[in-house]
Symmetry: C2
Subunit: 343 residues, 2 copies
């Protein structure tokens, strides 16, 4: 039986996670869920972000479902680095998976792009690059101050995430992988990424490949998002490109994500991309769709593709039936999704 | 009298630069222009990208007007690093200026965004960050390979470009500056940028300021580009954000840019953001608008704001009069723009 750690978090996190759990229970009865109190509320109460003992407990689960953490009362960076990034690194979640679909019933901010036309997934590296914290500064607060930031890239780390991207492309209809980097300027890491990409591509003659500089990819995500299938890229480029991809499809409110250790040596974490939205928290009006889609990614990762499929079908039906602009109730949406997914 | 070095370059570069020169001659009679043969053609003929002797000659000019360089026959990176980046660094062009306007008569790919609503300028740092080439690799082509890429940031370099952004905001109607960085992850350089920004902001109480993480800014450029006035950011973030800004306004075909040394200690360089477009080169159908707008930025930089204004007015009139989809002739557009700007 799957053992899930649930970190509901702050603001609307608790509201949307409750719906995701309903849906999980509906499609996979008997999931064992344990709640962990982490996030802004705990930090403000105790000063703790992620005690080692909690990290050790989390490690004993099959997966983590997270709602959203954060509150204006917490200094920027504390929860991001102390909780989210710490989990990604501690649990070697090297695949940061971010699918973007323009679901029937939703509108793109792009003129002339129709529902169903965008269906891409970004496979973002999650444990290297500019996210390691390497760097420093000298002569702080003087005119002579210098600050460095170092991007660290290993063949090991780059190749494994590229392999994952090709494996995912093999399971999709278009079988296309786009590598995004900035090889004309970031020559050291760019060369490593390009060579690793070529090597893995050679093992997958049935997959179409292309390369784009990050600036061009950012532009094409706006002008021709339809052209992408699987995009593989480094940690920082992935951070930026996935927000653009979310913006041109249903918006960040519908974006799901997974921080995945494909070997399941450690628990993977699944969370909606949206934040804790303190402005609408407690009102029961947050859209649980992204949290529910994240639970779908969790199911897929744990080896329940059929249950995962029922979750996407339920979300697709829900979105298609929505009247644009009509108010929604978090609980009611959760009930409908659970009922639909249970079939 | 202004002494301009003209690097027409490759492909449509020569065609659009010819129109930009017509317009320059029309608004500022007596400009002394010297042509320099640099780009893919010269590289393929001689193996030279930018001989030191040519660099020294360029240094004797007030400004450089560049068309576009590049051709599929040249290995990627050669002209970018050997010519474009070399000029930026050699001539200390620390302000990479990239205005984006949704001109009347042009359509945004964004549904519901109307002409005139987007009017922003990105002030991108041009001489530091991840563009210095710092970094290296070890154990190349083995499973143990590592590659690093280093972002170098100095208080000197960061503060001067932020000062330039505030000075530009002072001259604009909305007087707003948005700092874009990723301070929650890139803590070393992020802290330097944030502190320098605060210090300069304190000297400009009449300018409204805000901060955004780069991922959020990339998203908001798609969902709410109207919110931006002046955006100041580092070299790599600026590379990405300016392509998004171009995409949501008239497209990269209308984007002008300047690589500027505001003190005029060295020549600044002005160029359309588009490339050499080998597919349409020689046909006389390239739109010279971006090259002409770049000449307008050149005029402004050299202290001819009134002439610069006439150039924008001419482009505005030209774009407003266009029939969407109608074919255009480069020469004819150039003639009309020159006549209108001469006024
Ligand atoms: C919160 C932050 C550290 C994080 C990131 O930069 O990865 C977020 O933007 C994301 O995309 O998950
Ligand atoms: C050609 C390349 C080096 C350059 C850059 O990255 O700055 C280009 O993308 C630009 O934006 O001017």
């Amino acid at each position: 039986m799957a053992r899930i750690a649930v970190v509901a978090g702050d603001g609307i996190g608790t509201e949307v996670v409750a719906q995701a759990r309903k849906v999980l229970d509906a499609v996979l009865p008997g999931v064992e869920a344990t709640e962990y109190d982490l996030g802004a509320a705990r930090y403000n109460r105790t000063g703790e972000v992620l005690p080692d003992s909690v990290l050790a407990e989390l490690a004993g689960h099959d997966a983590i479902l997270l709602g959203a953490v954060g509150d204006p009362s917490v200094p920027p960076g504390v929860l991001e680095r102390g909780l989210l990034l710490r989990l990604r690194f501690a649990f070697d979640q090297y695949v940061n998976l971010r699918p973007s679909r323009l679901w029937p019933g939703t509108a793109s901010p792009l003129a002339g792009v129709k529902a169903g036309e965008i269906d891409l997934v970004v496979v973002r590296e999650g444990t290297e690059g500019l996210y390691t914290g390497a760097g420093g500064s000298l002569h702080r607060d003087t005119p002579a101050e210098v600050a460095t930031e170092e991007s660290l890239n290993t063949r090991h780390g780059v190749e494994r995430v590229i392999r994952d991207a090709f494996a995912r492309a093999e399971r999709r209809e278009r079988r296309k992988v786009t590598l995004v980097h900035k090889t004309n300027v970031l020559t050291h890491s760019g060369s490593l990424w390009a060579r690793a990409f070529q090597a893995v591509a050679a093992e997958h003659p049935d997959v179409t490949t292309e390369y784009q500089h990050v600036d061009a990819a950012a532009m094409f995500l706006v002008t021709q998002p339809q052209r992408y299938d699987v995009v593989v890229t480094d940690n920082l480029f992935g951070d930026i490109l996935t927000d653009i991809a979310a913006a041109v499809s249903g918006g960040i409110g519908l974006a799901a994500s997974g921080c995945i250790n494909p070997e399941r040596a450690y628990p993977s974490m699944f969370e909606p991309v949206h934040g804790s939205a303190p402005d609408i928290a407690g009102k029961g009006v947050a859209d649980p769709a992204a949290a529910v889609l994240s639970a779908g990614l969790l199911l897929d990762h744990l080896g329940h593709p059929e249950a995962a499929h029922r979750v996407s079908e339920a979300v697709a039906a829900e979105l298609a039936a929505r009247v644009p602009g009509a108010p929604l109730r978090t609980e009611e949406v959760g009930d409908r999704l659970a009922a639909h997914a249970a079939g």
